[in-house]
Amino acid sequence: MNVRAARRIVFGLLGMYAVFLTWPGVVPVNRIRPLVFGLPFIMFWIVLWVLLVGAGFVLLNAAETRAESRAQTRAASGAASGAATGAQPRGKGGA
């Protein structure tokens, strides 16, 4: 996944988080039963969203880390090929 898509997911999750955890979005889930893992449903709901946003950030960080290392290898190989092309004219000049 690229950085832009991951970023869109995170922003989407945060937006939904704000909507579903405050009035009026939270009203339909504002209930005690069913208990999940022993917790009242609304408490479980909030924990669930905390973890979902965390998962979103895991995705985004993975995408950014990948993009960074790719940029680094590109920069490194760019520098290497730059050195090679830099050597060429001198070689020609000598011939």
């Binding site: 995170v10 405050t22 009035w23 208990l35 009242p40 905390v50 985004l60 960080n61 920069a75």
Partner: protein
């Protein structure tokens, strides 16, 4: 040996370990302002994770959290809701601020804002707002330590002595090692408080009710009003949705704007460390689940505590736990208090010198560090005096603090994201925001739908800042680009090397 002596022994052992870690931490950094305030920008993920989590979860989480769940029911869930929303922007702001810090040498939040909007007045105003918000918050941490100490030793260690013991340790390690002591003690304290909270949060419901589910079944029969939103107010009446929802949004907005937290952007080793700190924060946030379980366990507890905030120590003492466990609980609660108090104390002294004094007086590196150390003692002393003698005086400051800190959001965001913002615009907005915050606090009856005063004041702050900036001459493009555009990515050159 009597019970309270064993408990005191356990707690003293904990304090000893904390002190040793704090003093040892100082040997890792240079003796310079950047070392004292920003740990030479060398904190890795372990230190950053715990410094963030342990700083955020204060004595309030350990005592106030159960107290809220106990007396106000589901209203407490707002505390769990705002954290993630509040820290999310830091994923983007933190690395950007850190990059600018490395480039221009910033170690505080105000230096970043004033770097973009050069103004002596702005710097001093930010310093005053920060310190004004820190002192009452620090006072709360100290009295939290005092409460726990005196409760579990049944008054053998008085309130003032408990607070003094815990904070003598804090002052000593902050004096000697600055932020690296804050960081490494927070690793220890963070692990400690997490373990204690989870252990007690699961143990107490199981012990008293036979399980978490069984406990909630019982509460659902007797007090269903405590289990659904928006819960109750402090006086036991239903809370309003407007107040509940806007408390989440206001807290989320102000969250990372607390300068003692924001300035940790400058301590991270690199971008990736900063990003992962935010990414992992939800795992720390879940720590509130056991904290609330403890509070809920108190709902059907036969004897009520002296005040809601005492519910945890009250139950600990009444359930006849082994004495070692009581001692560990006490140490856990002290960790929560001290791991926030140390960051506040350190930040207050650093901000007062870097942003309050330095703009008006030329100081060299040695003088700055000396003054910071003096202020650590002075500010600690002031907060202690208030905690012991005059707690009531600071209650109004505490109420204003969160709204005030929200007013720092527009300047920080404008500095990093809006090229057209100007110094005069930001100053005007900030002044208007602070005034509006105080106004809506005094005239709470004028707030529409009981919306939090911090939110209302931020709206006014942004409107004034925008209008005044647009009327003002724009800043030089080369200057604004450095903050808004160039800071958005790490320079390529460093990637090659």
């Amino acid at each position: 040996m009597e019970r309270w002596q064993v408990i005191t022994g356990v707690v003293l052992a904990y304090l000893g370990v904390t002190l040793a870690i704090g003093l040892a931490a100082g040997r890792r950094v240079s003796s310079s302002v950047a070392g004292y305030v920003a740990a030479d920008r060398q904190f890795g993920l372990l230190a950053m994770y715990f410094i963030t989590g342990a700083t955020i979860f204060s004595a309030f989480a350990f005592l106030g959290g159960p107290g809220w769940a106990y007396s106000r029911g589901a209203a407490a869930l707002y505390i769990m809701s705002y954290g993630v929303l509040g820290i999310a922007p830091w994923y983007f702001l933190g690395p950007k601020a850190g990059r600018l810090g490395r480039r221009f040498g910033f170690v505080t939040q105000a230096q970043l804002v004033v770097g973009r909007f050069p103004s002596r007045t702005l710097s001093i105003l930010l310093a005053v707002v920060s310190v004004a918000a820190f002192v009452p918050y620090l006072m709360l941490q100290m009295s939290g330590a005092g409460i726990v100490f005196s409760a579990v030793t049944e008054g053998h260690v008085p309130f003032w002595l408990g607070a003094a013991l815990a904070y003598a340790v804090v002052v000593t390690y902050v004096l000697s090692s600055g932020v690296s002591a804050v960081g490494w003690t927070n690793v220890f304290q963070g692990i400690f408080m997490l373990c204690v909270a989870w252990a007690l949060g699961l143990y107490i419901p199981i012990q008293l009710y036979g399980g978490v589910g069984a406990m909630f079944e019982r509460i659902a029969e007797v007090r269903p009003d405590l289990l659904t939103l928006p819960g109750l107010t402090g006086t036991g009446r239903p809370w309003s949705w407007g107040a509940y929802s806007s408390a989440i949004l206001a807290s989320a907005l102000g969250f990372i704007m607390w300068p003692h937290l924001f300035m940790k952007s400058f301590t991270a080793r690199d971008d990736a460390t900063m990003r992962r700190t935010v990414m992992l924060f939800p795992t720390f946030q879940i720590f509130l689940v056991p904290v609330f379980l403890i509070g809920y366990a108190g709902v059907l507890f036969p004897s009520p505590p002296a005040a809601p905030d005492f519910i945890l120590p009250h139950m600990i003492l009444e359930t006849g736990l082994p004495v070692l466990v009581v001692g560990l609980f006490c140490a856990g609660a002290l960790s929560a208090s001290m791991s926030t108090g140390d960051a506040l104390l350190h930040a207050a002294a650093s901000v007062a010198v870097e942003d309050g004094l330095r703009p008006v007086r030329r100081l060299n590196d040695t003088q700055q560090r000396f003054l910071m150390r003096v202020l650590v003692v002075v500010i600690g002393g002031i907060a202690f005096w208030f905690a012991i003698v005059q707690q009531q005086t600071l209650v109004w400051l505490l109420l204003t603090a969160y709204g005030l800190v929200c007013q720092l959001a527009p300047p920080v965001y404008a500095a990093l994201y809006w090229q057209r913002a100007t110094t005069r615009g930001v100053l005007a907005g900030l002044a208007a925001g602070i005034a509006a915050n105080v106004f809506f606090l005094v005239r709470a009856d004028l707030r529409p739908f009981e919306v939090h005063e911090g939110i209302l004041a931020v709206v006014i702050n942004v409107l004034v800042m925008t209008t005044a900036s647009m009327l003002d001459a724009p800043q030089a493009p080369a200057h604004t680009r450095a903050f808004v555009v160039e800071a958005a990515a790490e320079p390529r050159a460093s990637a090659v090397v």
